[in-house]
């Protein structure tokens, strides 16, 4: 499939987000707070990595090696948002990120499912089915933790992470062209407004009282061309095994 550079960049941003948030989620494998949660988080991570592979598959030519593209690009060629890159060493941060991210991800798939491009739309339909499990997981966990003595920690995570999560809606520099082409019909700004309503409604339903500074990281991300502080170390970690022998077949 040949896409315009603008559409390619738009899909790359989503692919990089899925890849990196999936990779970050995997850091909890074997360390989840209880067995079922370990399995659930691992499953969600696998889905996000699978979505990343699917999205990369849309934009990559057949002769491009997926692993090399996904892992060995120079940092400036990534289009990820900072929430996906963020290292969450506390479980409460990881849980809150998962909820904030998946609320947004579902809206992004919904927009893509309406695309006139058949490959992107069918990938989105499959992802939507999987995303329903992720949202159910977030709802089940967050609704149970609300009202416990951990509420304060969750609220603190939301206060710190929601402004970073708003960076999901930082569009690529050429999003106007993507809309003009009709590849998608909903702008990031429109999705951001819906996302904001959804997450605030979730918090109200769970009885978690928290507010945050909306300023966020959107400006600093510069249309997703700038990497966050922790990216270099994360990138090196992701490359560690592959870099041992880049010509090896794994």
């Amino acid at each position: 499939m040949t896409y315009s550079p603008a559409v390619r960049d738009h899909l790359l941003a989503f692919a990089d987000d899925e890849h990196l948030v999936g990779a970050r989620h995997t850091s909890w494998i074997g360390l989840g707070p209880f067995l079922e949660e370990d399995l659930a988080f691992c499953s969600i991570a696998q889905d996000e990595l699978g979505h990343g592979i699917g999205l990369y598959g849309l934009i990559l030519d057949d002769d491009v090696e997926l692993d090399a593209f996904a892992l060995l690009r120079p940092a400036e060629d990534y289009r990820s948002c900072w929430l996906a890159e963020l290292e969450c060493t506390d479980w409460n941060d990881s849980l809150v990120r998962h909820w904030l991210y998946d609320r947004a991800e579902a809206l992004r798939w919904e927009a893509l499912a309406a695309s006139p491009d058949p490959a992107a739309a069918s990938l989105a339909l499959r992802a939507q089915r999987e995303e329903s499990f992720h949202l159910a997981h977030a709802e089940q966990f967050m609704s149970r933790i609300a009202g416990t003595d951990s509420t304060g920690r969750i609220a603190d995570s939301v206060r710190r992470l929601a402004p970073i999560a708003a960076g999901i809606w930082d569009p690529t520099a050429t999003e106007d062209d993507v809309l003009a082409e009709g590849f998608v019909t909903t702008s990031s700004a429109q999705l951001a407004a819906r996302w904001n309503d959804l997450i605030r409604a979730d918090l109200a339903r769970w009885g978690i009282d928290v507010d945050w500074d909306d300023a966020g990281v959107v400006g600093a991300q510069q249309h997703r061309t700038q990497r966050s502080d922790g990216f270099a170390a994360f990138h090196a970690d992701l490359q560690r095994v592959l870099a041992v022998d880049t010509s090896a077949t794994w």
């Binding site: 079922e36 399995l39 499953s43 696998q46 889905d47 996000e48 699978g50 490959a119 339909l125």
Partner: protein
């Protein structure tokens, strides 16, 4: 691309693909699991090329590469096929509706894995009770949840 390929060869390829079992379930064919979406045989410069279109149960299934390799091996073992091109298609969306009766029976009898009925209920494959509850949506693989039969006190898995 020329289509001077006999339907007999397409049938051979179809049978070869169907001979591949899911790595998680020996004796359950990927065809019976509903993973096979399309089979074409095209005339290539060096001989017939089989193009097999598959769909995954879940995007993140780690067995996809293994399944593709098994299909390629089974199809290229046919003397009349020169090459096999396995493609994971973006659609349609897999669901448990795609499972054949054969797959459902083997999964229940040999693996204690069941599917939800149309009414949403679950029947224990061990004792036949309907007193089965899902304990964890995430199971040992992407496509299975973990349930528990209160009647016979056996764990049951639910393909989702």
């Amino acid at each position: 691309m020329s289509t001077l390929v006999s339907t007999a060869l397409v049938d051979q390829v179809r049978a070869a693909v169907a001979s591949v079992d899911d790595p998680e379930y020996p004796d359950v064919s990927i065809a019976d699991l509903g993973l096979v979406e399309s089979i074409d045989v095209e005339a290539g410069p060096d001989g017939p090329v089989a193009v097999v279109g598959l769909i995954p149960t879940f995007s993140g299934c780690p067995a996809l590469d293994m399944i593709a390799t098994d299909v390629e091996r089974a199809v290229t073992a046919l003397t009349d096929v020169h090459e096999c091109d396995v493609r994971w298609l973006p659609g349609p969306v897999w669901s448990t509706d795609r499972l054949t009766g054969t797959a459902r029976a083997t999964l229940a009898d040999d693996y204690t894995v069941v599917l939800r009925r149309k009414d949403g209920g679950l029947r224990c494959p061990v004792c036949g009770s309907d007193d089965v509850d899902v304990q964890s949506q995430a199971g040992p693989t992407r496509c299975r949840a973990v349930a528990w039969c209160a009647a016979c006190r056996n764990p049951v898995e639910v393909m989702r």
